[in-house]
Protein backbone atom coordinates (compact mmCIF):
# COMPACT_ATOMS: atom_id res chain seq x y z
CA UNK A 1 0.00 0.00 0.00
CA UNK A 2 1.37 3.44 -0.94
CA UNK A 3 2.07 6.19 1.54
CA UNK A 4 -1.14 7.70 2.88
CA UNK A 5 -1.19 11.42 3.43
CA UNK A 6 -4.32 11.99 5.51
CA UNK A 7 -4.95 14.79 8.04
CA UNK A 8 -3.70 13.61 11.44
CA UNK A 9 -5.77 15.99 13.50
CA UNK A 10 -8.97 17.99 13.37
CA UNK A 11 -6.83 21.09 12.78
CA UNK A 12 -5.03 19.63 9.77
CA UNK A 13 -8.40 18.54 8.41
CA UNK A 14 -9.91 22.02 8.76
CA UNK A 15 -6.89 23.51 7.04
CA UNK A 16 -7.17 21.04 4.15
CA UNK A 17 -10.90 21.72 3.80
CA UNK A 18 -10.43 25.50 3.81
CA UNK A 19 -7.72 25.16 1.17
CA UNK A 20 -9.92 23.09 -1.14
CA UNK A 21 -12.95 25.32 -0.63
CA UNK A 22 -14.76 22.66 1.41
CA UNK A 23 -14.83 24.76 4.59
CA UNK A 24 -15.41 28.45 5.24
CA UNK A 25 -13.97 30.53 8.06
CA UNK A 26 -16.66 32.54 9.87
CA UNK A 27 -15.08 35.46 11.71
CA UNK A 28 -18.20 37.18 13.00
CA UNK A 29 -19.55 36.26 16.43
CA UNK A 30 -21.83 33.23 16.48
CA UNK A 31 -24.11 32.39 19.41
CA UNK A 32 -23.76 28.90 20.90
CA UNK A 33 -27.46 29.13 21.76
CA UNK A 34 -29.19 27.91 18.57
CA UNK A 35 -27.34 30.08 16.01
CA UNK A 36 -24.36 27.75 15.50
CA UNK A 37 -26.73 24.79 15.25
CA UNK A 38 -28.90 26.58 12.70
CA UNK A 39 -25.85 27.34 10.56
CA UNK A 40 -24.75 23.72 10.58
CA UNK A 41 -28.25 22.45 9.82
CA UNK A 42 -28.59 24.70 6.80
CA UNK A 43 -25.13 23.69 5.62
CA UNK A 44 -26.23 20.05 5.73
CA UNK A 45 -29.47 20.67 3.89
CA UNK A 46 -27.72 22.66 1.14
CA UNK A 47 -24.58 20.51 0.91
CA UNK A 48 -22.51 23.61 1.64
CA UNK A 49 -18.92 24.03 2.79
CA UNK A 50 -18.30 23.15 6.44
CA UNK A 51 -18.47 26.17 8.77
CA UNK A 52 -15.38 26.89 10.88
CA UNK A 53 -16.78 29.37 13.42
CA UNK A 54 -13.89 31.18 15.06
CA UNK A 55 -15.72 33.62 17.34
CA UNK A 56 -18.17 32.03 19.79
CA UNK A 57 -20.31 34.24 22.02
CA UNK A 58 -19.30 33.95 25.71
CA UNK A 59 -16.38 31.65 24.87
CA UNK A 60 -13.34 33.58 23.67
CA UNK A 61 -10.55 31.34 22.40
CA UNK A 62 -12.86 28.47 21.44
CA UNK A 63 -14.20 27.69 17.99
CA UNK A 64 -16.63 25.29 16.29
CA UNK A 65 -16.22 23.09 13.24
CA UNK A 66 -19.60 21.98 11.95
CA UNK A 67 -20.71 19.27 9.52
CA UNK A 68 -17.20 17.81 9.32
CA UNK A 69 -18.03 14.81 7.13
CA UNK A 70 -21.39 15.60 5.59
CA UNK A 71 -20.13 15.40 1.99
CA UNK A 72 -18.22 12.77 0.06
CA UNK A 73 -15.69 15.46 -0.87
CA UNK A 74 -14.80 16.00 2.79
CA UNK A 75 -14.73 12.25 3.30
CA UNK A 76 -12.18 11.99 0.48
CA UNK A 77 -10.11 14.79 2.03
CA UNK A 78 -10.23 12.98 5.38
CA UNK A 79 -8.79 9.89 3.70
CA UNK A 80 -6.07 11.96 1.99
CA UNK A 81 -7.67 11.45 -1.43
CA UNK A 82 -8.54 13.84 -4.23
CA UNK A 83 -11.73 15.67 -3.15
CA UNK A 84 -13.23 14.87 -6.54
CA UNK A 85 -12.96 11.11 -5.97
CA UNK A 86 -16.12 9.18 -6.74
CA UNK A 87 -18.03 7.22 -4.14
CA UNK A 88 -16.94 3.85 -5.58
CA UNK A 89 -13.32 5.06 -5.48
CA UNK A 90 -13.65 6.18 -1.86
CA UNK A 91 -15.34 2.89 -0.98
CA UNK A 92 -12.61 0.85 -2.68
CA UNK A 93 -9.96 2.78 -0.75
CA UNK A 94 -11.78 2.19 2.55
CA UNK A 95 -11.99 -1.54 1.80
CA UNK A 96 -8.32 -1.70 0.82
CA UNK A 97 -7.17 0.02 3.99
CA UNK A 98 -9.47 -1.82 6.35
CA UNK A 99 -8.43 -5.17 4.86
CA UNK A 100 -4.76 -4.38 5.55
CA UNK A 101 -2.75 -5.32 8.63
CA UNK A 102 -3.92 -3.66 11.87
CA UNK A 103 -1.68 -0.83 13.07
CA UNK A 104 -1.43 -0.70 16.85
CA UNK A 105 -1.56 2.71 18.54
CA UNK A 106 1.39 4.23 20.38
CA UNK A 107 1.19 5.79 23.84
CA UNK A 108 3.07 9.05 24.16
CA UNK A 109 4.24 11.11 27.09
CA UNK A 110 1.75 13.54 28.54
CA UNK A 111 4.14 16.42 27.89
CA UNK A 112 3.87 15.77 24.15
CA UNK A 113 0.09 15.51 24.12
CA UNK A 114 -1.72 18.64 22.85
CA UNK A 115 -4.93 17.63 24.61
CA UNK A 116 -3.16 18.19 27.96
CA UNK A 117 -2.44 21.88 27.39
CA UNK A 118 -5.20 22.77 29.85
CA UNK A 119 -6.27 20.51 32.71
CA UNK A 120 -9.31 21.06 34.94
CA UNK A 121 -9.62 18.91 38.06
CA UNK A 122 -11.64 18.98 41.29
CA UNK A 123 -13.73 22.07 41.83
CA UNK A 124 -12.49 23.55 38.57
CA UNK A 125 -14.41 20.95 36.59
CA UNK A 126 -17.41 22.58 34.93
CA UNK A 127 -18.75 21.58 31.54
CA UNK A 128 -20.15 25.09 31.17
CA UNK A 129 -16.59 26.29 30.65
CA UNK A 130 -16.78 24.57 27.27
CA UNK A 131 -18.86 26.11 24.46
CA UNK A 132 -21.42 23.30 24.52
CA UNK A 133 -24.02 24.26 21.89
CA UNK A 134 -27.79 24.06 21.96
CA UNK A 135 -27.91 22.28 18.61
CA UNK A 136 -31.65 22.38 17.88
CA UNK A 137 -34.26 24.58 19.51
CA UNK A 138 -36.35 22.33 21.74
CA UNK A 139 -33.62 19.79 22.42
CA UNK A 140 -33.53 18.44 25.94
CA UNK A 141 -30.23 20.14 26.57
CA UNK A 142 -26.91 21.37 25.26
CA UNK A 143 -25.15 18.46 23.61
CA UNK A 144 -21.50 17.93 24.49
CA UNK A 145 -21.14 14.94 22.23
CA UNK A 146 -22.49 15.06 18.70
CA UNK A 147 -19.31 14.18 16.78
CA UNK A 148 -16.90 12.53 19.15
CA UNK A 149 -15.83 9.24 20.68
CA UNK A 150 -16.83 7.81 24.04
CA UNK A 151 -13.91 5.64 25.08
CA UNK A 152 -14.39 2.68 27.41
CA UNK A 153 -12.73 -0.65 28.06
CA UNK A 154 -14.09 -4.04 29.08
CA UNK A 155 -12.21 -4.76 32.31
CA UNK A 156 -11.91 -8.52 31.70
CA UNK A 157 -11.66 -8.91 27.96
CA UNK A 158 -9.67 -5.71 27.58
CA UNK A 159 -11.65 -4.63 24.53
CA UNK A 160 -11.33 -0.92 23.91
CA UNK A 161 -14.38 0.77 22.42
CA UNK A 162 -14.62 4.18 20.82
CA UNK A 163 -18.30 4.77 20.18
CA UNK A 164 -20.36 7.76 19.16
CA UNK A 165 -23.01 7.86 21.88
CA UNK A 166 -24.77 11.21 22.09
CA UNK A 167 -24.16 13.05 25.38
CA UNK A 168 -26.24 15.85 26.87
CA UNK A 169 -24.98 18.26 29.52
CA UNK A 170 -27.31 17.89 32.52
CA UNK A 171 -25.31 20.16 34.79
CA UNK A 172 -21.69 21.27 35.05
CA UNK A 173 -20.52 17.85 36.24
CA UNK A 174 -23.11 15.50 34.78
CA UNK A 175 -23.96 14.24 31.31
CA UNK A 176 -26.59 11.77 30.17
CA UNK A 177 -26.77 9.82 26.97
CA UNK A 178 -28.45 7.24 24.81
CA UNK A 179 -26.60 3.92 25.00
CA UNK A 180 -28.50 1.10 23.33
CA UNK A 181 -28.35 -2.32 24.99
CA UNK A 182 -27.06 -3.97 21.80
CA UNK A 183 -24.15 -1.53 21.41
CA UNK A 184 -20.61 -2.37 22.49
CA UNK A 185 -20.83 -0.07 25.48
CA UNK A 186 -24.33 -1.27 26.31
CA UNK A 187 -23.10 -4.85 26.39
CA UNK A 188 -20.08 -3.96 28.54
CA UNK A 189 -22.36 -2.24 31.04
CA UNK A 190 -24.88 -5.06 31.26
CA UNK A 191 -22.22 -7.77 31.14
CA UNK A 192 -19.92 -6.39 33.83
CA UNK A 193 -20.50 -3.05 35.52
CA UNK A 194 -24.22 -2.98 36.24
CA UNK A 195 -24.44 -6.41 37.91
CA UNK A 196 -21.50 -5.47 40.15
CA UNK A 197 -22.72 -1.99 40.90
CA UNK A 198 -19.37 -0.59 39.78
CA UNK A 199 -18.80 2.67 37.95
CA UNK A 200 -17.46 2.31 34.40
CA UNK A 201 -14.56 4.67 33.61
CA UNK A 202 -15.07 6.64 30.41
CA UNK A 203 -13.41 9.39 28.43
CA UNK A 204 -15.13 11.49 25.80
CA UNK A 205 -12.85 12.77 23.05
CA UNK A 206 -14.14 15.73 21.03
CA UNK A 207 -12.48 17.23 17.98
CA UNK A 208 -10.96 13.95 16.85
CA UNK A 209 -9.02 13.59 13.63
CA UNK A 210 -11.59 12.81 10.92
CA UNK A 211 -10.34 9.24 10.58
CA UNK A 212 -10.58 8.68 14.34
CA UNK A 213 -14.17 9.92 14.13
CA UNK A 214 -14.73 7.62 11.14
CA UNK A 215 -13.38 4.70 13.18
CA UNK A 216 -15.61 5.60 16.15
CA UNK A 217 -18.60 5.64 13.83
CA UNK A 218 -17.78 2.45 11.91
CA UNK A 219 -19.52 -0.78 12.94
CA UNK A 220 -16.31 -2.73 12.37
CA UNK A 221 -15.16 -5.71 14.45
CA UNK A 222 -11.65 -4.22 14.45
CA UNK A 223 -10.87 -2.22 17.64
CA UNK A 224 -11.15 1.46 16.82
CA UNK A 225 -7.57 2.50 17.71
CA UNK A 226 -6.23 -0.13 15.27
CA UNK A 227 -8.89 0.71 12.71
CA UNK A 228 -7.91 4.37 12.90
CA UNK A 229 -4.29 3.35 12.29
CA UNK A 230 -5.29 1.27 9.26
CA UNK A 231 -7.32 4.13 7.81
CA UNK A 232 -4.56 6.68 8.29
CA UNK A 233 -1.62 4.39 7.49
CA UNK A 234 0.18 5.09 10.73
CA UNK A 235 -0.21 4.53 14.45
CA UNK A 236 -2.62 6.82 16.26
CA UNK A 237 -1.04 8.66 19.20
CA UNK A 238 -2.68 8.00 22.55
CA UNK A 239 -2.09 9.43 26.01
CA UNK A 240 -3.23 8.23 29.40
CA UNK A 241 -6.11 9.96 31.14
CA UNK A 242 -5.67 12.06 34.29
CA UNK A 243 -8.17 10.23 36.48
CA UNK A 244 -8.42 6.69 35.08
CA UNK A 245 -6.36 4.20 33.07
CA UNK A 246 -7.99 4.79 29.72
CA UNK A 247 -5.94 6.07 26.81
CA UNK A 248 -7.29 8.82 24.58
CA UNK A 249 -6.24 10.33 21.24
CA UNK A 250 -3.52 12.81 22.15
CA UNK A 251 -4.37 15.16 19.30
CA UNK A 252 -8.05 15.49 20.19
CA UNK A 253 -9.24 18.99 21.02
CA UNK A 254 -11.14 18.22 24.24
CA UNK A 255 -11.16 15.26 26.63
CA UNK A 256 -13.81 14.74 29.31
CA UNK A 257 -13.04 12.03 31.86
CA UNK A 258 -15.26 10.41 34.44
CA UNK A 259 -17.38 7.47 35.47
CA UNK A 260 -20.63 6.01 34.14
CA UNK A 261 -22.84 5.58 37.18
CA UNK A 262 -24.18 2.06 37.69
CA UNK A 263 -27.14 2.91 39.92
CA UNK A 264 -28.29 6.44 39.22
CA UNK A 265 -29.80 8.06 36.15
CA UNK A 266 -30.86 11.53 35.12
CA UNK A 267 -33.07 12.56 32.23
CA UNK A 268 -31.83 12.79 28.65
CA UNK A 269 -33.35 14.08 25.41
CA UNK A 270 -35.30 14.69 23.37
CA UNK A 271 -32.77 15.26 20.61
CA UNK A 272 -32.99 15.70 16.85
CA UNK A 273 -31.45 12.63 15.27
CA UNK A 274 -30.17 11.27 11.96
CA UNK A 275 -33.60 9.87 11.08
CA UNK A 276 -34.74 13.45 10.60
CA UNK A 277 -36.95 13.45 13.69
CA UNK A 278 -36.95 13.92 17.41
CA UNK A 279 -38.37 10.46 17.92
CA UNK A 280 -38.20 9.50 21.57
CA UNK A 281 -39.16 11.70 24.49
CA UNK A 282 -36.86 12.32 27.38
CA UNK A 283 -36.25 9.44 29.70
CA UNK A 284 -33.86 8.47 32.46
CA UNK A 285 -30.76 7.26 30.61
CA UNK A 286 -27.12 6.34 31.12
CA UNK A 287 -25.47 8.97 33.30
CA UNK A 288 -21.88 10.15 33.13
CA UNK A 289 -20.27 11.92 36.10
CA UNK A 290 -17.31 14.10 35.10
CA UNK A 291 -14.02 14.10 37.04
CA UNK A 292 -11.68 15.98 34.71
CA UNK A 293 -11.61 18.08 31.55
CA UNK A 294 -8.49 18.59 29.45
CA UNK A 295 -8.26 20.59 26.25
CA UNK A 296 -5.96 22.19 23.72
CA UNK A 297 -5.30 25.88 23.60
CA UNK A 298 -7.88 27.48 21.31
CA UNK A 299 -9.83 24.26 21.25
CA UNK A 300 -12.28 23.56 18.44
CA UNK A 301 -15.47 21.72 19.27
CA UNK A 302 -16.93 19.60 16.47
CA UNK A 303 -20.67 19.77 15.86
CA UNK A 304 -22.79 17.38 13.91
CA UNK A 305 -26.33 18.64 13.49
CA UNK A 306 -28.44 15.66 12.65
CA UNK A 307 -31.83 16.04 11.01
CA UNK A 308 -33.23 15.59 7.54
CA UNK A 309 -30.66 14.51 4.93
CA UNK A 310 -27.94 14.90 4.69
CA UNK A 311 -25.49 15.07 7.51
CA UNK A 312 -22.55 12.92 8.50
CA UNK A 313 -24.79 10.76 10.66
CA UNK A 314 -26.40 9.56 7.45
CA UNK A 315 -23.51 9.88 5.03
CA UNK A 316 -20.74 8.25 7.03
CA UNK A 317 -22.88 5.60 8.68
CA UNK A 318 -24.38 4.65 5.31
CA UNK A 319 -20.89 4.44 3.88
CA UNK A 320 -19.36 2.31 6.62
CA UNK A 321 -22.41 0.11 7.23
CA UNK A 322 -22.61 -0.71 3.53
CA UNK A 323 -18.92 -1.51 3.21
CA UNK A 324 -18.80 -3.54 6.42
CA UNK A 325 -21.77 -5.58 5.17
CA UNK A 326 -19.99 -6.10 1.86
CA UNK A 327 -16.97 -7.47 3.75
CA UNK A 328 -19.19 -9.74 5.82
CA UNK A 329 -21.06 -11.14 2.80
CA UNK A 330 -17.85 -11.71 0.85
CA UNK A 331 -16.32 -13.45 3.86
CA UNK A 332 -19.20 -15.94 3.59
CA UNK A 333 -18.50 -16.56 -0.08
CA UNK A 334 -21.62 -14.85 -1.37
CA UNK A 335 -21.07 -13.48 -4.90
CA UNK A 336 -22.03 -9.89 -4.10
CA UNK A 337 -21.11 -7.28 -6.66
CA UNK A 338 -21.52 -4.37 -4.28
CA UNK A 339 -23.41 -3.00 -1.29
CA UNK A 340 -24.68 0.55 -1.04
CA UNK A 341 -26.80 2.54 1.35
CA UNK A 342 -28.17 5.76 -0.01
CA UNK A 343 -27.54 8.41 2.67
CA UNK A 344 -31.01 9.78 2.02
CA UNK A 345 -32.46 6.53 3.35
CA UNK A 346 -31.05 7.79 6.68
CA UNK A 347 -29.12 4.51 6.67
CA UNK A 348 -32.26 2.40 6.81
CA UNK A 349 -32.11 0.64 3.45
CA UNK A 350 -29.26 -1.62 2.38
CA UNK A 351 -29.05 -2.23 -1.36
CA UNK A 352 -27.12 -5.38 -2.26
CA UNK A 353 -26.06 -6.32 -5.78
CA UNK A 354 -25.45 -10.03 -6.31
CA UNK A 355 -24.95 -12.60 -9.04
CA UNK A 356 -28.10 -14.71 -8.55
CA UNK A 357 -26.40 -18.07 -8.95
CA UNK A 358 -28.56 -20.17 -6.62
CA UNK A 359 -31.99 -20.25 -5.02
CA UNK A 360 -32.57 -18.39 -1.76
CA UNK A 361 -29.55 -16.14 -2.13
CA UNK A 362 -31.51 -12.99 -1.25
CA UNK A 363 -32.85 -14.64 1.89
CA UNK A 364 -29.35 -15.76 2.84
CA UNK A 365 -28.11 -12.18 2.45
CA UNK A 366 -30.95 -10.79 4.55
CA UNK A 367 -30.43 -13.35 7.31
CA UNK A 368 -26.73 -12.56 7.50
CA UNK A 369 -27.32 -8.81 7.36
CA UNK A 370 -30.07 -8.69 9.98
CA UNK A 371 -28.38 -11.30 12.16
CA UNK A 372 -25.07 -9.47 12.28
CA UNK A 373 -23.85 -6.76 14.61
CA UNK A 374 -24.79 -4.29 11.87
CA UNK A 375 -28.41 -5.44 11.75
CA UNK A 376 -30.13 -3.22 14.33
CA UNK A 377 -29.10 -0.10 12.40
CA UNK A 378 -31.25 -0.73 9.31
CA UNK A 379 -34.54 -2.42 8.68
CA UNK A 380 -34.69 -2.84 4.92
CA UNK A 381 -32.55 -4.98 2.65
CA UNK A 382 -33.14 -4.80 -1.07
CA UNK A 383 -31.37 -7.38 -3.23
CA UNK A 384 -30.92 -6.67 -6.94
CA UNK A 385 -29.00 -8.51 -9.62
CA UNK A 386 -25.54 -7.67 -10.90
CA UNK A 387 -26.99 -5.94 -13.98
CA UNK A 388 -28.53 -3.23 -11.80
CA UNK A 389 -26.31 -0.29 -10.88
CA UNK A 390 -26.71 -0.13 -7.09
CA UNK A 391 -25.51 3.49 -7.04
CA UNK A 392 -28.18 4.54 -9.54
CA UNK A 393 -31.44 5.01 -7.63
CA UNK A 394 -33.47 5.16 -10.87
CA UNK A 395 -32.32 1.66 -11.77
CA UNK A 396 -32.76 0.31 -8.24
CA UNK A 397 -36.23 1.82 -7.94
CA UNK A 398 -37.23 0.37 -11.29
CA UNK A 399 -35.99 -3.07 -10.25
CA UNK A 400 -37.87 -2.82 -6.97
CA UNK A 401 -41.14 -1.77 -8.59
CA UNK A 402 -41.04 -4.36 -11.34
CA UNK A 403 -39.25 -7.45 -10.02
CA UNK A 404 -40.22 -7.64 -6.37
CA UNK A 405 -43.20 -9.99 -6.29
CA UNK A 406 -45.65 -8.78 -3.61
CA UNK A 407 -46.35 -12.33 -2.50
CA UNK A 408 -42.97 -14.05 -2.85
CA UNK A 409 -40.48 -11.18 -2.81
CA UNK A 410 -41.32 -9.42 0.44
CA UNK A 411 -40.27 -11.19 3.63
CA UNK A 412 -40.87 -9.65 7.05
CA UNK A 413 -38.68 -10.54 10.00
CA UNK A 414 -40.49 -10.04 13.30
CA UNK A 415 -39.22 -9.53 16.85
CA UNK A 416 -35.71 -8.58 15.84
CA UNK A 417 -33.44 -5.95 17.41
CA UNK A 418 -34.09 -2.33 16.54
CA UNK A 419 -33.02 1.07 17.72
CA UNK A 420 -35.05 3.41 19.86
CA UNK A 421 -34.66 5.97 17.11
CA UNK A 422 -36.90 4.34 14.48
CA UNK A 423 -39.68 6.86 13.86
CA UNK A 424 -42.03 4.10 12.67
CA UNK A 425 -41.63 1.97 15.80
CA UNK A 426 -44.17 2.01 18.59
CA UNK A 427 -43.22 3.66 21.89
CA UNK A 428 -43.08 0.19 23.46
CA UNK A 429 -40.76 -1.16 20.75
CA UNK A 430 -38.52 1.87 21.08
CA UNK A 431 -38.25 1.49 24.82
CA UNK A 432 -37.10 -2.12 24.56
CA UNK A 433 -35.17 -1.89 21.25
CA UNK A 434 -37.61 -4.29 19.58
CA UNK A 435 -37.38 -4.21 15.82
CA UNK A 436 -38.87 -5.64 12.67
CA UNK A 437 -37.14 -5.87 9.32
CA UNK A 438 -37.98 -6.58 5.73
CA UNK A 439 -36.30 -8.10 2.69
CA UNK A 440 -37.23 -6.94 -0.79
CA UNK A 441 -36.08 -9.70 -3.13
CA UNK A 442 -35.77 -8.09 -6.55
CA UNK A 443 -34.12 -11.05 -8.28
CA UNK A 444 -35.67 -13.10 -11.03
CA UNK A 445 -36.33 -16.58 -9.64
CA UNK A 446 -33.54 -19.00 -10.56
CA UNK A 447 -36.10 -21.60 -11.67
CA UNK A 448 -37.41 -19.33 -14.39
CA UNK A 449 -36.12 -20.15 -17.84
CA UNK A 450 -33.74 -17.34 -18.73
CA UNK A 451 -34.84 -17.33 -22.37
CA UNK A 452 -38.57 -17.82 -22.16
CA UNK A 453 -39.60 -16.73 -18.66
CA UNK A 454 -37.35 -13.82 -17.66
CA UNK A 455 -38.60 -10.54 -19.15
CA UNK A 456 -36.20 -8.57 -21.30
CA UNK A 457 -35.15 -5.20 -19.96
CA UNK A 458 -36.10 -2.65 -22.57
CA UNK A 459 -33.50 0.07 -22.39
CA UNK A 460 -31.19 1.81 -24.79
CA UNK A 461 -28.14 -0.02 -23.54
CA UNK A 462 -29.85 -3.43 -23.39
CA UNK A 463 -31.90 -3.94 -26.53
CA UNK A 464 -29.94 -2.30 -29.34
CA UNK A 465 -26.90 -3.76 -31.08
CA UNK A 466 -23.62 -2.12 -30.14
CA UNK A 467 -23.08 -0.67 -33.60
CA UNK A 468 -26.47 1.03 -33.51
CA UNK A 469 -25.82 2.42 -30.06
CA UNK A 470 -22.48 3.84 -31.19
CA UNK A 471 -23.98 5.34 -34.33
CA UNK A 472 -26.75 7.04 -32.36
CA UNK A 473 -24.36 8.31 -29.71
CA UNK A 474 -21.90 9.64 -32.26
CA UNK A 475 -24.67 11.35 -34.22
CA UNK A 476 -26.49 12.72 -31.20
CA UNK A 477 -25.46 16.32 -31.69
CA UNK A 478 -25.98 16.01 -35.45
CA UNK A 479 -29.59 14.99 -34.83
CA UNK A 480 -30.00 18.36 -33.13
CA UNK A 481 -29.93 17.18 -29.50
CA UNK A 482 -27.90 18.85 -26.83
CA UNK A 483 -26.12 17.20 -23.90
CA UNK A 484 -23.29 14.83 -23.34
CA UNK A 485 -22.90 11.62 -25.29
CA UNK A 486 -23.49 8.80 -22.82
Amino acid sequence: MGKISAPKSNREFIEACVKSGDAVRIKQEVDWDNEAGAIVRRVCELGEAAPFMENIKDYPGFSYFGAPLSTYRRMAIALGMDPASTLPQIGAEYLKRTNSEPIAPVVIDKRDAPCKENILLGDDVDLCKLPVPLVHDGDGGRYVGTWHGVITKHPVRGDVNWGMYRQMMWDGRTMSGAVFPFSDLGKTLTDYYLPRGEGCPFATAIGLSPLAAMAACAPSPIPEPELCGMLSGEAVRLVKCETNDLEVPADAEIIIEGVILPDYKVEEGPFGEYTGYRTSPRDFRVTFRVDAITYRNNATMTISNMGVPQDEGQLLRSFSLGLELEKLLKSQGIPVTGVYMHPRSTHHMMIVGVKPTYAGIAMQIAQLAFGSKLGPWFHMVMVVDDQTDIFNWDEVYHAFCTRCNPERGIHVFKNTTGTALYPHATPHDRKYSIGSQVLFDCLWPVDWDKTNDVPTLVSFKNVYPKNIQERVLNSWADYGFRGAKK
Binding site: C128, D139, G141, D263, E267, R282
Partner: protein, 85 residues
Protein backbone atom coordinates in the same frame (compact mmCIF):
# COMPACT_ATOMS: atom_id res chain seq x y z
CA UNK B 1 -34.39 39.82 39.15
CA UNK B 2 -36.91 37.14 38.39
CA UNK B 3 -35.57 33.85 37.12
CA UNK B 4 -36.75 32.04 34.02
CA UNK B 5 -37.21 28.28 34.13
CA UNK B 6 -38.28 25.55 31.75
CA UNK B 7 -39.68 22.08 32.31
CA UNK B 8 -40.33 19.09 30.01
CA UNK B 9 -43.56 17.18 30.59
CA UNK B 10 -45.49 14.55 28.66
CA UNK B 11 -48.80 15.99 29.84
CA UNK B 12 -49.67 19.39 31.26
CA UNK B 13 -51.54 17.54 33.99
CA UNK B 14 -48.15 16.89 35.56
CA UNK B 15 -48.11 20.56 36.57
CA UNK B 16 -50.76 20.41 39.26
CA UNK B 17 -51.46 23.72 40.98
CA UNK B 18 -51.96 24.34 44.66
CA UNK B 19 -49.54 21.74 45.92
CA UNK B 20 -45.83 21.12 46.22
CA UNK B 21 -44.26 19.31 43.27
CA UNK B 22 -40.81 17.90 42.68
CA UNK B 23 -39.64 18.66 39.14
CA UNK B 24 -36.50 18.62 37.05
CA UNK B 25 -36.23 22.18 35.78
CA UNK B 26 -33.63 23.98 33.72
CA UNK B 27 -32.59 27.58 33.91
CA UNK B 28 -33.25 29.89 30.97
CA UNK B 29 -31.30 32.73 32.53
CA UNK B 30 -28.66 34.07 30.16
CA UNK B 31 -25.10 33.05 30.86
CA UNK B 32 -22.79 30.10 30.77
CA UNK B 33 -25.12 27.89 32.80
CA UNK B 34 -28.20 28.39 30.64
CA UNK B 35 -30.05 25.10 30.03
CA UNK B 36 -28.45 23.27 32.97
CA UNK B 37 -30.79 21.28 35.17
CA UNK B 38 -31.60 20.87 38.80
CA UNK B 39 -34.13 18.89 40.77
CA UNK B 40 -36.30 21.09 42.95
CA UNK B 41 -39.39 21.28 45.11
CA UNK B 42 -41.63 23.89 43.54
CA UNK B 43 -45.08 25.36 43.37
CA UNK B 44 -46.55 26.41 40.05
CA UNK B 45 -49.50 28.55 39.09
CA UNK B 46 -51.23 29.44 35.85
CA UNK B 47 -51.61 32.93 37.29
CA UNK B 48 -48.51 34.58 35.93
CA UNK B 49 -48.26 37.06 38.80
CA UNK B 50 -48.69 34.44 41.53
CA UNK B 51 -44.97 33.73 41.93
CA UNK B 52 -41.93 35.82 41.02
CA UNK B 53 -40.27 33.42 38.58
CA UNK B 54 -41.63 32.31 35.21
CA UNK B 55 -41.93 28.77 33.91
CA UNK B 56 -42.01 27.79 30.26
CA UNK B 57 -43.16 24.31 29.28
CA UNK B 58 -42.04 21.92 26.58
CA UNK B 59 -43.73 18.67 25.65
CA UNK B 60 -42.32 15.23 24.89
CA UNK B 61 -40.66 16.00 21.57
CA UNK B 62 -39.51 19.47 22.52
CA UNK B 63 -42.63 21.32 21.33
CA UNK B 64 -43.08 24.62 23.13
CA UNK B 65 -46.43 24.76 24.93
CA UNK B 66 -48.63 27.85 24.70
CA UNK B 67 -49.35 27.54 28.44
CA UNK B 68 -47.24 29.72 30.71
CA UNK B 69 -46.87 29.47 34.46
CA UNK B 70 -45.29 31.28 37.34
CA UNK B 71 -43.15 29.22 39.68
CA UNK B 72 -41.72 29.35 43.17
CA UNK B 73 -38.63 27.26 43.77
CA UNK B 74 -38.95 26.15 47.35
CA UNK B 75 -35.69 24.30 47.62
CA UNK B 76 -33.18 22.44 45.54
CA UNK B 77 -33.25 18.67 45.95
CA UNK B 78 -30.18 16.53 45.42
CA UNK B 79 -31.11 13.01 44.34
CA UNK B 80 -27.65 11.93 43.24
CA UNK B 81 -26.09 9.63 45.86
CA UNK B 82 -23.57 11.49 48.02
CA UNK B 83 -20.75 9.17 46.98
CA UNK B 84 -20.86 10.64 43.49
CA UNK B 85 -20.91 14.28 44.51
Amino acid sequence: MANKWEVFVMDLGELAEGKELELTIRTLNDGLHKYTYQRAKVEVSSKLDQFPDSLQVRLGRGQLSDRKFSIRVIERVERMPARYL
